[in-house]
Symmetry: C2
Subunit: 112 residues, 2 copies
DNA sequence: GCCATGCGCAACCTCCTGGTTGCACAGTTG
DNA sequence: CAACTGTGCAACCAGGAGGTTGCGCATGGC
């Protein structure tokens, strides 16, 4: 796991229920603090902070200090890459399906 | 890792460079076997098999036995849920995307 | 000035993930 | 049949992810 593609990092950041819930809350409720996010969650505030650091490391959220509070906000621009990946994946699969000759024996795929 | 939200499971499956490469290759080249996938990868065939099992557990790929070979193919329907999630997140009208996760594949915002 | 909140850091623990090696078994092919 | 290739299974290991607790420090309200 030497080089981590940026897209994989974003997917990894989203690949956890707690982080997914955090992102969902930030997407709906705007910028929130770690303590606010920890209310209603079933884990500690520290765990939320760690998850927020993972999300920030992936570039999915930004943190801004406002006096005593630190507000975390979603970065929707960071969602473009994974969306493009998923779109391209579906499109590539469609192309691969098209390549299967329509009149030959409809075998599943190319021989390995 | 049994009771995750379905979307988080898919994201987790995509959150690793090796699995991402596997999915990419399956998306372009159609169905391939574990041994074929291990050629060109920097890890063992067994590691590839484990990754394929993770992907299959997330419903992203299916396996089909053809004689001696086992061919893994992408399941593009499984991409609908994460795509809908990302779209909803970016748009802000998240709310109804993945409140509950029933057994069936969450489709509904797929076909363009 | 004092107290209550909220944040940050650090130590610590448990468990799963990612990876390897080794070997046995199943089909293919000559 | 015999050799070769592809799969499957199991044991095993290192490391990191996820989580907790505890405490010290800053900040805002009274």
């Amino acid at each position: 796991m030497a080089r981590k593609p940026a897209v994989a990092e974003v997917f990894f950041a989203l690949g956890h229920g707690t982080r997914l819930a955090i992102v969902r809350r930030l997407g709906v409720g705007g910028a929130l603090s770690a303590t606010t996010l920890s209310r209603g969650a079933k884990v500690t505030r520290q765990a939320i902070v760690k998850h927020l650091q993972v999300l920030e490391g992936a570039g999915l959220v930004t943190s801004e200090r406002l006096g005593k509070h630190v507000l975390y906000a979603l970065v929707p621009a960071r969602l473009a890459a994974p969306r493009a990946f998923l779109d391209g994946l579906a499109a590539g699969w469609d192309r691969a399906v098209d390549k299967r000759s329509p009149r030959g024996a409809a075998r599943g795929t190319a021989a390995p």
